[in-house]
């Protein structure tokens, strides 16, 4: 999901130009509340808890590994429901 900090009407235009397919919103209010002055990434788990946060890109591999780890956790939970 993208959170973009400029005016909403430019969002679609930029998304087309940059070929972004994610669901995106444009909101200055949200970016300043989240103190995201530089590109910032958050990974949020199925319970709504922040599990990873990177200010500036840590590289694709690190993000992928983190996401895979959480998805595996989730899979294991569904396979072995708590007794």
């Amino acid at each position: 999901m993208n959170i973009f900090d400029r005016e909403p009407k430019k969002l679609k235009e930029i998304m087309e130009k940059e070929k972004i397919t994610w669901r995106s919103i444009a909101s200055q209010a949200v970016t300043s509340r989240w103190n995201a002055g530089t590109p910032t990434y958050y990974v949020i788990d199925p319970n709504g808890v922040i599990r990873y946060k990177w200010v500036g890109s840590p590289g694709e591999k690190v993000i992928d590994t983190a996401l895979e780890k959480l998805l595996h956790e989730e899979e294991n939970k569904t396979k072995k429901p708590a007794r």
């Binding site: 999901m1 959170i3 930029i14 909101s27 990434y41 199925p46 922040i50 599990r51 990873y52």
Partner: protein
């Protein structure tokens, strides 16, 4: 672009200082030498990301170090020139961009590489700031810049300013900057806890001894220190204006909010808005799913 903007601003300041000088017919030698150094540093500014081998990275580090040293030596040579503080501020900016370039280069380069060359001049820069500018009312600007760097000498310097500057505005900027500087280190500790393989890189960036001392303080100790500084920034220096808008109090509040609500382990606050197709959007609609949130801007 991000590199050229501060550079242009600096040149303007240097020009203003020169033309405002009543002895304008005899231009200050520091101003001339400084402008020459700035121009040359802009021309050969090395790109760490393009460095493919250890040898190339070493060269990039040495080139940046050379210019940092040149700025610092200029300030040493002309201690009484009003421009000396600006020259030292530029040295700090260059050190900071060196530190962040190395961190960015980790995305592509797997080798940790020490960023401080043999003739590192951070210590000399701080010694000159203490000797010639500690009591200056203008030293707040360089204090503010230090939040973007990683060097242990900044921590010592900011503590000293907080203790010894006679100007409340300067003490306020140092207090906030120190909090932000230490918070960035606290975040590094958290990343290291998650990925122990980062040890070598952080030791290369911060020096083994400094990283060890941060590890001894630990997540909890360091966060407590940051919190205390932010609370102090809010209560004692709330009204102090920041160089780029807003006040110390407002920024301290934002930073505290980030620590308490936007850190790893905290429940994410809901986000509501409209998406690109004008459909209502809520982060909480994605419960039971893993979500990657990316905040970005057009640069």
């Amino acid at each position: 672009m991000r590199c050229t903007i501060p550079l242009l601003a600096v040149l303007c300041i240097a020009n203003t200082v020169r033309s405002a000088d009543p002895r304008a017919e005899v231009p200050s030698t520091l101003a001339q030498e400084y402008q020459r150094a700035l121009k040359e540093s802009g021309q050969v500014s090395p790109n760490f990301r393009d460095a493919k081998t250890d040898e190339e990275r070493k060269k990039a580090v040495e080139t940046t170090d050379q210019f940092v040293r040149r700025f610092v030596k200029l300030a040493e040579k002309y201690p009484n020139d009003p421009l000396a503080l600006e020259v030292l501020t530029q040295a700090v900016r260059s050190m900071n961009s060196q530190d962040s370039a190395v961190q960015m280069s980790w995305q592509t380069n797997k080798t940790a590489f020490p960023i401080r060359g043999k003739d590192d001049s951070t210590e000399l820069a701080m010694a000159l700031l203490v000797r010639d500018h500690l009591r200056s009312e203008k030293v707040g600007v360089v204090c503010e810049r230090m939040r973007y760097g990683t060097r242990k000498e900044y921590e010592t310097f900011l503590h000293k300013v907080m203790k010894e500057s006679p100007h409340k505005d300067v003490r306020g900027l140092a207090c906030l900057s120190l909090a932000q500087f230490l918070y960035a280190h606290a975040v590094k500790l958290d990343l290291y806890a998650e990925r122990p393989e980062l040890l070598e890189r952080y030791e290369a960036l911060l020096g083994k001894e400094y990283f060890d001392s941060l590890r001894r303080k630990g997540h909890h100790g360091l966060n407590k220190e940051v919190e205390t500084l932010l609370e102090q920034a809010g209560s004692k220096y709330g009204e102090v204006k920041l160089p780029f808008g807003g006040t110390v109090g407002e920024q301290a509040k934002i930073e505290l909010f980030e620590m308490h609500h936007l850190a790893v382990g905290k429940e994410a606050e809901d986000i509501e808005g409209k998406d690109q197709d004008d459909k209502p959007f809520k982060l909480s609609d994605y419960r039971r799913k893993v979500v990657l949130l990316y905040f970005w801007s057009e640069y």
